[in-house]
């Protein structure tokens, strides 16, 4: 097991360097200039420009800039934002819990609805339920998030008045964050109505963010179930006279679960990408909105370090999933 773990870790190191290089190059390949973006429409004189570019070191060869950057990262220094002058890591730590909370709730929604919908669609293959579920899943998968979010806001918040339009909690609730997770902090605060307010603010953004993973999970569950339902052992179980619920739940579903779990793991990346748009629409103060703002401002430091931190987290999640596989299925370790 230790050897397996070391093997996985050894693979991560070059990946981290690769990603740091890609993030470093990506932001510099974008058209635009961080100094000019900072100066705004008033512009900056050529002398001032030369002074600032020198101070930030952007006039030095890219290799030197990269080596300096990676050297600082290895000591835990992710740099200072060009736009806000605050440490990148500090900003990330302040904003990440909001994204994590939203992504977690979205994933729970996607799993709790996606898996049962996929199972029923497979069991009732060809029925109106199957066709409707898969039709809705395809629509959800193809829906532009920005449009979908705005549509939900207009209908549920604007027209029906059921949910708040945006933000994380009602503005009347003001308390210092303890964990950064609003659902938990609102409970700790002891203020009556705070938890309810935080939960109601989560509903629409979580639905929007869950839409694509839900569609993917439902479709994956259906196809995995269909494959398993055609297997001999399922037919045998049925022939033995087992109750249909037992056949589906115990024999079919458990075996169909492996590709489904893999799909769920892969949705972490999708959630991170989806969070960028969802957070922008719902004014959700997370890292997605933060990255979008940084790209617009050509904030080199935030973009390159932010991408790297996000990639590190996704890789850590994948490592945990790999280890869990190995724990569940020893054959993976051997391979």
């Amino acid at each position: 097991m230790l050897r397996y773990l070391l093997h996985k870790l050894a693979l991560i190191i070059p990946t981290v360097f690769g990603i740091s290089l890609a993030a470093f190059a990506f932001v510099r390949l974008l058209p635009g200039d961080p100094i000019l973006a900072l100066a705004g429409e008033r512009g900056v004189s050529p002398e001032r420009y030369a002074e600032l570019i020198e101070r930030f070191g952007y006039n030095r060869p890219y290799v030197i800039q990269y080596l300096e950057y990676i050297g600082r990262v290895l000591t835990g220094d992710f740099g200072i934002s060009l736009a806000t002058k605050r440490p990148v890591l500090g900003e990330f730590q302040a904003l990440f819990p909001a994204t994590l909370e939203l992504a977690t709730i979205a994933l729970i929604i996607a799993v709790l609805i996606g898996i049962p919908a996929g199972i029923f669609a497979a069991v009732k293959r060809g029925s109106w339920f199957d066709q409707a579920t898969m039709g809705v899943a395809l629509t959800g998968y193809s829906m532009p998030i920005f449009w979908w979010g705005l549509l939900l806001i207009i209908f549920f918040s604007g027209y029906l008045g059921w949910t708040p339009v945006s933000g994380r909690i009602g503005l009347q609730y003001f308390f210092k964050p303890t964990t950064g997770f609003m659902l938990i902090d609102s409970l700790i605060s002891g203020k009556s109505g705070a938890f309810r307010s935080a939960a109601s603010h989560l509903v629409l953004p979580a639905i929007v963010l869950a839409t694509i993973p839900l569609a993917v999970i439902a479709r994956q569950t259906r196809s995995a179930m269909l494959e398993v339902l055609g297997e001999d052992y399922v037919r045998t179980a049925r022939a033995k006279g087992l109750a249909p619920r037992r056949v589906i739940g115990l024999h079919a579903f458990r075996n169909a679960l492996i590709p489904v779990v893999t799909t769920i793991g892969l949705q972490v990346g999708t959630l991170m990408a989806g969070a960028i748009l969802t957070e922008t629409i719902f004014s959700w103060p997370g890292i997605g909105k933060w990255m979008i703002d940084a790209i617009a401002k050509r904030d080199y430091v935030v973009v390159q370090s932010g991408l790297l931190i996000i990639a590190l987290i996704v890789m850590a999640v994948n490592l945990i999933v790999d280890v869990l596989y190995a724990v569940i299925n020893p054959r993976i370790r051997v391979q």
């Binding site: 200039d33 002058k85 604007g158």
Partner: protein, 530 residues
Amino acid sequence: MKKKLTFAAALLAASVLGGMANAKQLVYCSEASPAGFDPSPWSGGNDFDASSRTIYSRLVEFEHGKTTITPGLAESWTVSDDGLEYTFKLRPGVKFQTTDYFTPTRDLNADDVIFSFERQWKKESPWYSYLEGTGWEYFTGMGFPDLLKEIVKVDDLTVKFVLNKPEVAFLPDLGMDFASIVSKEYADQLDKAGTRQQFTQKPIGTGPFQFVDYQVDAVVRYAAWDGYFGGRQKIDDLIFAITTDPAVRAQKLKAGECDIMSYPAPADIAGLQADPNLKVDEQEGLNIGYMAYNTTQPPFDKVEVRKALNMAVNKQAILDAVYQGAGQAAINPIPPTMWSYNKDIKDDPYDPDAAKKMLADAGVTDLSMKIWAMPVSRPYNPNAQRVAELIQADYAKIGVKAEIVSYEWTEYRERGKAKERDGAFQLGWTGDNGDPDNFLFLLGCDAIGQSNYAIWCNQEFEGLLQKGKATTDVAERTKIYEEAQVVFKREAPWLTIAHSKVFMPMNKKVSGFVMDPLGIHRFDGVDVTE
């Protein structure tokens, strides 16, 4: 006294944290997160709204809703005959805010004023570079490093600015956000503690509201400052709910989640106006959208060619399609609300036939050119791509082939400055301080390579511009600038497109909000009826 103030600060913090039951609250849906709360290092309107206009004050202020100068922290001032010395008498008894992180031991004095400017000016000051890479862009952009000779403390409540050359716009400049007065005592306290960064994160000023809390990218909270020299505000709590998407801001306003919002999308305005709970204030913006010809490149170096191209453009169609009724055709390079605007100047008539003939008379046939379209929406030009398409169609009617080009925003502006730039370049300007020079300098010879995208250096215009800067008498300056506008219109370095209107939707329970021609969002004097 100190104990009393500390107790007051603790009481205030407790009341805010506890959410006072009867507190009057105003929620403003703002468009972007502030970069920080020091009013001087940044240049965004949203940064100023969140810092200088709420927390701080200046020596002089713009009259609410106007561009005229009124006393601020300075109760009076005198200007020497040669225009080189400005002596300000400070208002006595002005208190800096008392918070849980700072308790002032003295009132505002000349040291604070000198510190506020020298930290942006003197490179040897440790505060000059307390934020990594701070450019103090407005201070340098307004030419203050060259303009200021020295700032002298005459006594505790008297401070003298000595200039290197006369500058008529000096007083309006001091009303700008970057000239906000900060506390030297607070800076010294942070110096001792080794926590200079806190200066921009936990601000202290003398303005109507004091800072309470900032949740990054989400909410900024302020409380009315009881010791404000202008009198305590009617609202107790001011909240900025940061909402970047204009459509979402509109929905929040409709749903009652905020009381007032900035920058509605043109498409949402009719819906907001129709809502029975809302009202939408509007004002002519102190701005201009224009298209600059490259006057150094043939055939645009010929006045008659530029005039002909101007006459080919149907501005009304642009106003209808792009500004959707929220704008008026621009005739002069300064907006009509600005003093010295020349009302006698007539716009070039829309006459494609005459334009075609003028081009032919100038010997220009089969002209192909580029029209530059900004990649972003701006108050002075909400959709430059659409404007370019309309102009392209108009040009086609007189036989001119136009190709539309666009680049990333900073790249766009850089390429536009190039002397060999091909074609006509769309851009615009929003005023900083209400002085005509703040618009006309865009066409000055010194501005070539920076903000003069027409690359136009006309000696007659330049002479008037310089004369205007050295004249203190307003009536005389008015005449000079009126004449400068005549020269501009005759020479046509720009196609003046439009001055846009600015809208401010708010709940009907909000009273006392005055729209500002400089685009500032000020909440002093605002009330909310429960």
